[in-house]
């Protein structure tokens, strides 16, 4: 019961948005898939939760596009994990996406809350 409650409170993330969140998370340093979902959940005040079924396809898609790079490393508690990091192209993409997002937010709030 509590479980389903938690899910209902969460907001579903669209694909483009998820990409932006992943890029932004990795802008602070490299991270593995589990870490990325933890960071997004924590920063969003537990509101945004990333399903593994969306996260991993997104990571692989971004890597294929050349925005991410990956390497296998030992994690903080000595687990082997695949760490992703931003490439140069990924950094550019992040800036572009971020700008677009800001414009969208402005535009959407302009519509919702006319001054």
């Amino acid at each position: 019961m509590a479980e389903s409650q938690r899910y209902q409170n969460r907001i579903e993330i669209r694909q483009g948005t998820l990409d932006l969140l992943i890029l932004q998370t990795l802008a602070r340093g490299q991270q593995h898939g589990h870490g990325i979902s933890q960071v997004i959940r924590a920063r969003s005040g537990e509101l945004l939760s990333v399903e593994t079924g969306s996260l991993y396809p997104a990571l692989h898609r971004l890597e294929k596009k050349g925005w991410l790079d990956s390497e296998w490393k030992a994690s903080e508690n000595n687990q082997r994990a695949k760490y992703y990091s931003l490439t140069k192209a990924g950094r550019k993409q992040l800036v572009a996406e971020h700008d677009k997002w800001r414009q969208l937010v402005q535009a959407v709030s302009g519509v919702l809350d006319p001054a």
């Binding site: 396809p57 294929k64 596009k65 790079d69």
Partner: protein, 871 residues
Amino acid sequence: MARNSLRLLLRRFFQRRELERELNDELASHIAIETARHIQDGESPEAARQIALREFGNVGLVAEVTRDQWGLGWLEQAFADLRYSVRSFLRAPLFSAIVVITLGLGIGSSTTIFSLLDGILLRALPFSNSNQLTVLWELPPQTRKPNVVNLSNFVAWRERNHSFQSMAAFLASPMNLLGDRGGEQVPGLSVTADFFETLGTQPLLGRTFRPGEYWTSEPREVVLSYGAWQRLFGGRPDVVGKKISIDASHHEVIGVMPSGFSLPNHKAELYVPQAIEINEGRNYTVIARLRPGVSPDAANAEMAALAAQTAREKVHMDAGWSAIAVPLLEQTVGSVRPILLLLFAAVGLMLLLACANVANLLMMRASGRVREFSVRLALGASRHRIVRQLLIESLLLAMCGGLLGVIVGGIAIQFLKTSLPESLHIPRLNEVTLNWAVLLYSTGTSILSALIFGLAPALQSLKRNVSQGLHEATRSVTSGRKVRRVLVIAEIAFALVLVSTAGLMVRSFIRLTSVDTGFHAENVLTARMLLLPVQKEEYRAETVRQMLDRIRALPGVVRAGSIGILPMEGTNSGTAYYRADRPDPAPNARPGGDVSIITPGYFEAMRIPMIHGRAFDVEDRVGSPPVAILNQSAAQMLFPDEDAVGKRLRVQWGGGGTPLVEVVGVAADIRHDGVSTPPDPCLFMPNDQQPFPFTSLVVRTTGNPANLENELREQIRAVDSDQGIATMEPLQQMVSDSIARPRLETVVLAAFGVIALGLACIGLYGLIAFSVAQRIREIGIRVALGASKAGIFRMILGDGLRLTVVGVLLGLAGVVSSTRFLRSLLYEVNPLDPATLVSVICILLVVSAAACYIPALRATNADPASILREE
């Protein structure tokens, strides 16, 4: 970024399995980290893992949606198709092996012939601007067959022409080289000073002759070939300035030519300068280099004009003579072009046959796979995808076939280069290699053949629709029958063309071997040599006489004599001789023919009978009346209705004189020029009276002539230890070598014919067997309705034979249309020889009947009850 994507792409392509494992590891590590987090929160390891797994969701599904992101590029799809193809071929190994071997033989044989074509006909000769190089010949008044050149004409051409940058004359001759082990004779060229400049090749060491030098034969210098440098001096770099003894005089080595340098068809070890001696003899070959921009035709026209000039100036010598310019490449390879083109056409046809068979096999296989394709279509595969799958399958087969073909070709080329006898005189054989051009050709052929044999089944599969395919899955499709029938008809037609060509060649070759040459070559040993220069010409004759006397005393020697130039080795053609009892004919209307200088004993050793009069004897010597013997043709030409013996002739022979000789005998004709050339008129004169610089000893023995070689060598050395021998071989060998080429052509074409026949047989068998399998239900019904077994048998057999008849008719049309070409290859055999064609047609009918027999038998044994139950 591009590099990153490429790396990923390559990894996806080549390391798919590793990538899968990495993905599983990645997801597992996620779960492990989550588990660790829950353990830290105080859960038991077991419970922690359960929670982690639950939170993660369906691992398999996550992995799958992630994998989808990798995407299938066209390359990967092709790769997937390829893997699918490999799997499907591995499931039918016999089918795959037959296809690959068929293609391999087809591509291999065409690769072999193409590499010959490339090395011999297509590639430029190894000289700078080799297309400027031209050979000049004189043309005699009557025969107009290219003739060697007179040096004074050469000088006139060189001074007056506007077409050529430079021009050189040369004479090929064995040269007597004196070494530590006595004399030996090696091939050499006497060349005028511009020779090397004309060819445009720089020496490896030292220098070559300088243009404008050597108007006399001094200074005596020599340029070595690379081979001679290695053999005589062990490749020592300080060879320039050393002296070697050539033809009994010392020559200073002034240069060494690079490895591989040689005038085509004139392999030489030594090059010595040739002085320009003005006389009336025609002995020299002339090579010239065209000025840039001058066409061979223009040069040819100028040569004719120049020859017309000299003919006016030197009427007694040049009247009626003309001259031509022939490009060096044409001169070199002209004689082998027809056969190479024929072989190329033959292997082209064979490749087509192979493709047709493979197409046939693939189409049958495709028909058997209707259900598979229908299922794939029903499951959403696009038609496009299935056609591509089929084409990739053909490409894969073609590539395997091509690989096998290149291997087969490589082996065949090596075999040809090492096993073809020197006597075949195939020009430029040493230049034949499996090079890029050839590999490109093979690859192109493979891809093209894949398209040819892959397109038909692919297009056919397009025509079908899903429901029909699924519906008919267990029955057969009859569409494509027509295409398959056309393919088989084409195969039979090709086989007929190849087999009948081979048959004609065999007949022609049998004719060639059964020609009566007029002499008996068995048990005869020959030894050819250039006689060492001596103070007086008579001494040369004396040397030959002494050798022969010693040889005749050997046990096992029946008869011995000598002749200037042996049969099958060439002639002294174009010498004029005419009746002395009539007014001298005009210079351009003088009859003539070959001249042979012989010793007593020659006719006996060769077993050439005297028709009339006597042979030469020891009394025919210097000082006694000059005598001559005519062969029958010459006697017929000069004295058509009279007895030639006792008549006198003038012979345009020697250094300018026209000796008067009396005919003392008439000898039977022989084929001197070659087995296939009818006898020419020939006049014989005794060596003692007209000494000749070359001699070929002809020794008839009681046993195997090869056993006598060492003793013969000893006797020659005993007369003059410096005297080398150019070649020593049984006459039988020379005769057999002279027809080595038609023999090779026959063997190769016969082999192709057999393969083509085999291919056509497999094709027909496959078609009929398949059609029986398809019609087995119909046949079952027919039998059930009361058709007789014999009737069924006739129906199936008739079906196959109808195809054969159509193929045979088409093939006959092919033979008729290539009549003229075939005639150039055949000796005294009509290209439309009825006996050959009828037997070939019979062979094809019998083979076709055999190919249809087994399937027809299967059809007759069909048990209607069980067949109909199966449906």
